[in-house]
Symmetry: C2
Subunit: 719 residues, 2 copies
């Protein structure tokens, strides 16, 4: 029994602010509850009415005869605290506050919202809102429509959880048009108590939910969201739409909900780890939900595309391939049998084009053979409805062939109202139907993406790899600067403690250190000055490369001392012959460290080709990070042509992720550049910057908001 | 009077193969002609029937009483030549052959198609097809529906020209749903006579066409297509959907039409020059057409986004910004007035959110003020239809505000059938209505993209810049190898003749040349071996960099002579300190040279960051080429931090484009790498390869198919 039971499965619902005025929220909620066939008691509450929407009305919540677990409140904002107080005394367990005029309206509203929350907490009432659209539960035992929207309730396997009520309605509307029903639906408005993370965690445990459509604008508690997403995507399909992707969008989100938008790259990393799909548009999300709700997952990407009109079939095939699906290649025997089953006008290639005259038998034969072929993981159908073909029969044949297979089939049907029966037959038979060929291909691609996520091995425990005691000791020995930055020497020591290879360094404090550096490091070597606060050493001329002998070393040291008086000097072994990468750690929220990998040099500056992953990583997950870079081919050829040591790169990433996991004080680590040498020769950090939380500021919001800017900046952003 | 008049404006239409069987093409065409209200005579022709679809039928074309300009032929393929012969004798001027079984069916069909074409030509009949879907003309004076599709004909400003009949129908269907009517419609099937380029050129001259939706799979004659596209996009809106973008899609196109797909990068270059918009999907194309058909072009990218539901408004704003639009920023006075005109719940930021309670007055005030603001170029509206608002009144207010402005307004309406009147009012009032907020933003972005195209200055004549006589002479002096490749020395000479700077070279033939090279070029210099057929010199070890003195030069020469016996050696001035680029010319079809620019080094190999443009270029157009690269930031900082010499780069591109324009023998030029030095210091080609047409092979198809592979490979391709 979830703590949100009173919200989704109440025994009775009272509506405070119920109204006889048809065009009011208080009227609409009563009507929606009634029209949806809610199985519990519906109790309109109004001081002056005796009947509302043909139901007996009550003067006060205390007058309601039956048990009331949930109230919908559609009163003026300033009247909400007292009303909720009365509800608490009457034993109400959950409240949906539709009223606006709270935190979204300014400081006075925020104070009022705090009062409402305090009242709720004092009575143990779970609060959805204020400024909330409401809740639905399509379960036939409940049929709860506690919201003021207009799309009728139909039962089904899809749960909609949406920060925006408008997006929730848009999703529900188009799900319904696609013939797919609803399990849960909730839009929590200001979310002062129940928020999307808690709703998501509850949906994760709900047996009736198969697919979750999640609309996000911002995430308040990233760790809670991460945990809920990991849990939800384990057994359900989690499809996420995120607003505030662009700078203007993020500003609009801020003024819309008063919250900071969550960095896109951070969200991508969380969703990737969870195995949730981030969808590029509301339409794409709803269309994918339709497919997931109706069809099994494909086992792979090999997709047969069948059409009775070449052009739309090619468009579907094109889009499928552009999204990473592969055209299925059945063996010669299957292709021959398929060709033999069709008219001479049919072509059997990457597109199986049955030609416009194909009837039920032709479709049945083609789909059955293709779905039975071991080289086919799924099937995309694009059909027009020629007036000289028995299209109803074609629809039945498609449904039968799909039902006899455990592989997914999705369809594009190009038709008009005269063939509505064709679409109905397909949809009733569980075949998702889309209007454009690209839509069908995109839905299949989403299914294949999820199948690929599901096929990944779980992250293996690698905690022992980094010695927690040793790295904690290294950090304790360090003396952070005023902004939390460690000196180069302390930062290198931390890397060494974690077993992350760095090019050897020798601090030059006394004249004798020159000799030590020369003997320890050999030539050529690199000399660096490390003045406090200098970030871009090379650009500032604080790095001298290619020092070939002791005399040059002494000259370079003198020159850097002159330019950067008082700055520590470090000699470092010069490493060359590798690919330049950048590795790092960012911590956008307490307890949520992310590891970053990117291509170094010009790429990180101009192309921002970096990828993020949630810590901790294991070796397999770490390898996916460089693989996800646009410029990943660069690792195929070090100078000289050998492939780069991606195993060593992966090991360094795993160690970085563990370092960040065991050191909550760490805010940011930058290894830039890192030389990734040819396979077998390792990786070496050539420069390192580590920032820790300053004294007493650990975990404060301002600290984290500042560091959050890093992944937002570095993530994949639209131009 | 266009040569296609008989096709689009016939005085009478006969249907050969007309049939009383309802489910036949021959019946459907007669019915469509009749139901659409065709203003000319309709003459079903059938040897045994006297009446078809309530119209008198005739035994033969020679029996038809009235003038017949056009025939639709729906006979078995082998009967078409004789039937067409009879049509020719009867004075028919155009024929649509619906029948299939021609070139698309194999060699026998191809022979039959050649016979049909010969018959047509012998009688001066313009032929659409065979295997064609047909033609429509929505003009109220004509109302011609000479096709077997099902979407009813409505008059409007959009012309659909489609290689695929299925895509044509899909476009028409959704245009009609959006309340937008048709001007011309044609799908030419095998296009043995009238093809898409000729149709496009005709539509370019048609006053009734405002928007052209063009569906392409392949382009047979690239020069003809280029000319038609340039002409059509000058005064019309040309929206292009291209199939065969991916390898599998291209193979499917090949089996679909027997034609080679046209390289995507080539098409992009042609469309960019023409100012036509390539659309990412059929849906996006139709939606953009809806907007262009109804609304004026914006003057710029500054877009106001207005909503009555925050979430969908943010989604629209996000998508708008992701597509390059800018949120409009009205001045403080306007913002204050706007705020004052609204309820306290409204927010005025990058999104103007009027809140759900906003009624007609609120919408009227907001739209009027925003459309009047000089900082606003266009307006995207996203609205839900709350049941407590006068939504019909809102629709009327939106229509009135838009009508009073010369700026575009597009809308997303989230609603269901109960508010169909709202959508009708908006559409009748000329406001394009889309179901998802992203769609509205995308339509506005397409309009802004076209506005930006229209704002570009025309290409200025720069023919005098390159001395045609001089470059022709340089080419005549060259001795191409068996594959048409010039030697390094000849290739450098050609560059010099065109005024394209290359790092100075000295061929080393005799021992004395070492001294000459040293004196001419200075040190350090580069030594290269140039064996026949070697493409990747560096990888093969045929390049020695950084030769510091005469002795080293002699040693390097001896070593290269040993490794590459008989290969010419070239000494070259070593140029350093710039950004590495790659420039080039490809010629995908006779008379259609393209210029290419990309980032050099690893970028061209791993990221394929290259851009193409149609030759010739002027300085302004040439500058857009490096600007369109993903890694364009690289040009901002040469080693040392100075910006690169983009003026010199542009000049080299202009000269390359002119060189290619005046030398039709040139097939391919690669300048790779090119050192782009800091501003004011120029660009220098460091290696050059030039391929010319071999003897006697100029302009053969095989030659061009081979070279076409270059832009297909190098273009922006989906992963």
């Amino acid at each position: 029994m979830s703590s949100l039971d009173a919200l989704f499965r109440p025994r009775g619902v009272a509506v405070l602010g119920a109204s006889t005025k048809e065009l009011s929220i208080g009227n609409r909620v009563v009507r929606n509850l009634r029209d949806a066939g809610y199985t519990g008691g519906i109790y309109p509450v109004h001081p002056g009415e005796t009947t509302i929407c043909d139901l007996p009305a009550y003067a006060a919540i205390s007058d309601v005869p039956g048990p009331v677990d949930l109230v919908n409140i559609a009163l003026r904002a300033d009247r909400v605290p007292d009303a909720l107080e009365a509800c608490g005394r009457a034993g109400v367990r959950a409240a949906i506050v539709h009223s606006s005029g709270f935190a979204e309206a300014g400081p006075e509203g925020a104070a009022l919202e705090a009062r409402v929350l305090a009242v709720a907490r004092s009575h143990g009432i779970r609060l959805l809102g204020p400024n909330a659209q409401g809740v639905m539960n399509g379960d036939l035992d409940t049929r709860l429509y506690a919201s003021f929207t207009f799309t009728p309730l139909a039962a089904g396997p899809v749960t909609i959880l949406a920060q925006s009520g408008g997006i929730a309605e848009l999703m529900n509307l188009h799900l319904r048009r696609a013939g797919v029903g609803l399990r849960w639906y909730a839009s929590p408005g200001n979310a002062s108590d129940v928020d999307l993370s808690e709703l998501l965690a509850a949906a994760a445990d709900d047996d009736g939910t198969r697919v979750i459509l999640l609309d996000l604008e911002s995430v308040r508690d990233l760790a809670a969201f991460r945990d809920a997403a990991l849990r939800a995507a384990r057994d359900k399909v989690l499809l996420v739409v995120k607003s505030g992707r662009t700078a203007a969008g993020a500003r609009a989100v801020a003024s819309h909900t008063g919250a900071l938008a969550t960095g896109d790259a951070v969200l991508d990393a969380v969703l990737d780890r969870a195995g949730a799909l981030r969808m590029p548009s509301v339409q794409a999300a709803v269309q994918a939900a339709t497919a997931f709700a109706r069809q099994p997952l494909p086992r792979g990407r090999r997709t047969a595309v069948v059409s009775n009109a070449g052009g739309p079939g090619i468009v579907a095939l094109d889009e499928a391939c552009a999204l990473g699906l592969e055209p299925a290649s059945p063996d010669d025997a299957t292709r021959a049998a398929l060709k033999a089953s069709q008219s001479p006008y049919a072509t059997v290639g990457p597109l199986v084009d049955l030609a416009a005259t194909a009837g039920p038998d032709a479709f049945r034969a083609a789909l059955s053979m293709l779905l039975a072929a071991p080289e086919v993981d799924g099937l995309v159908l694009s059909m027009v409805t020629p007036f000289f073909v028995d299209c109803d029969g074609v629809a039945d044949a498609v449904v039968q062939a799909a039902a006899a297979s455990d592989k997914p089939v999705v369809a594009n049907v190009i038709t008009d109202a005269r063939w509505a029966g064709v679409v109905d037959r397909l949809q009733s038979g569980g075949i998702p139907v889309f209007e454009f060929p690209e839509d069908a291909a995109r839905a299949m691609a989403a299914m294949a993406r999820l199948a690929a996520f599901r096929a990944r091995p779980p992250i293996r425990g690698t905690e022992g790899l980094v010695d927690a005691i040793r790295v904690q000791a290294a950090l304790q020995r360090a003396v952070p600067g005023p902004d939390g930055w460690l000196s180069q020497a302390d930062a290198y020591a931390l890397l060494v403690a974690a077993g992350i290879p760095a090019a050897a360094v020798v601090p030059l404090s006394t004249p004798g250190d020159l000799d030590i550096a020369a003997r320890t490091l050999g030539f050529p070597l690199v000399l660096k000055a490390d003045p406090v606060g200098l970030v871009h050493k090379s650009a500032a001329g604080a790095v001298v490369l290619g020092i070939a002998d002791l005399a040059s070393l002494a000259r370079a040291a003198a020159s850097l001392r002159e330019r950067f008086p008082g700055a520590p000097l470090l000699a470092q072994r010069q490493v060359s012959g590798g690919v330049e990468a950048i590795l790092g750690v960012v911590v956008p929220a307490p307890g949520v460290p992310l590891v970053m990998a990117g291509l170094g040099g010009v790429s990180v500056e101009s192309a921002r080709d970096v990828a993020f992953a949630l810590a901790p990583l294991d070796a397999v997950a770490a390898r996916r990070l460089p693989d996800s870079l646009r410029g990943r081919d660069r690792f195929d050829a070090c100078p000289g042509g050998e492939p780069a040591d991606l195993d060593a790169l992966g090991d360094a990433l795993v160690r970085l992720s563990l370092l960040a996991s065991v050191l909550p004080e760490v805010r940011e680590i930058d290894l830039n550049p890192v030389a990734v040498l040819p396979a077998g020769r390792g990786v070496f950090a050539l420069d390192v910057r580590v920032r820790t939380a300053g004294m007493g500021e650990m975990g404060t919001a301002s600290d984290f908001r500042k560091s959050e800017a890093v992944p937002i900046f570095a993530g994949r952003r639209a131009p």
